[in-house]
């Protein structure tokens, strides 16, 4: 049984076009304490690649990518 992750914040970036999803994410992650998790919902097709690239570059952990009805949901844990 997969452990449930407690999501501190839901960030709705649906309808936002590049560069807004990563910008929204960069803003939101600032408000989290290290270890806290946010979920970002996006419809931008570029986000599929952009969010993982952002996580790689900024050193934050991308825990999961979900997809449902054209909406991608990225679960990200803030590192130190």
């Amino acid at each position: 049984m997969t452990p449930t992750i407690h999501i501190t914040r839901f960030v709705d970036a649906k309808g936002q076009m590049c560069p807004m999803p990563v910008l929204t994410l960069a803003r939101a992650i600032k408000e989290l304490a290290p270890g806290q998790v946010l979920a970002l919902a996006a419809t931008d097709q570029g986000a599929r690649r952009d969010i993982p690239a952002w996580a790689e570059r900024t050193g934050n952990a991308l825990l999961d990518i979900g997809e449902e009805a054209g909406v991608l949901t990225f679960t990200i844990r803030k590192s130190a």
């Binding site: 590049c18 910008l23 994410l25 960069a26 803003r27 952002w54 570059r57």
Partner: protein
């Protein structure tokens, strides 16, 4: 010198000079290692290109990169105070697409290029400098430009920073 030039063998029993210090793995100067920075020369003043530049700057800033934006020529014209409010210029070859693109941007609530840049500065380290030569030609001072422009510099300052930036672009 014997022992080093591979041509003159050291005589038996000779005292060889000490080996040189091993090279440090850390870069000796900043120039040895590329900086986590994007440098953009913004030569254009049409909204299509301003938008592209602003998206690149915003993306880089969102990813924790420093961004240097160097405005020159039409880039400076586009940053004159209040110019962005009425600038609808589009590249000449595609000017017929201008109105439909503006309408689509509005319909999809896309931020304007100036809004993107303001957002980028809010979350990251984005410096905007204006080319002194263009300023001189147009008879402009820093106060004639939008407050988002930090300073006036010359080409040498740009080159000195850009040579270490991982990404350099001309727009």
């Amino acid at each position: 010198m014997f022992g080093f030039d591979h041509q003159t063998p050291a005589p038996p029993g000779a005292q060889l000079p000490p080996l040189p210090e091993p090279l440090s793995l850390a870069p000796a100067t900043e120039g040895d290692q590329k900086a986590n920075r994007m440098s953009i020369v913004l030569f254009s003043g049409t909204v299509d290109k301003l938008l592209a530049a602003s998206i690149l700057a915003t993306g880089a800033a969102a990813m924790g990169m420093e961004v240097d934006l160097f405005l020159t020529t039409w880039g400076i014209v586009a940053f004159r105070k209040d110019d962005y409010k009425t600038n609808t210029r589009v590249s000449r070859d595609y000017e017929d697409y201008g109105p439909v693109m503006a309408e689509r941007m509005h319909a999809k609530h896309a931020p304007t290029w100036m809004e993107n840049l303001l957002g980028a500065r809010e979350i990251g380290d984005v410096k905007i400098a204006a080319c002194s030569m263009t300023m001189e030609l147009f008879g402009l001072t820093l106060t004639d430009l939008e407050p988002i422009v930090d300073e006036i510099t010359g080409v040498a300052s740009f080159v000195e920073r850009a040579r270490e930036s991982q990404i350099s672009l001309f727009i």
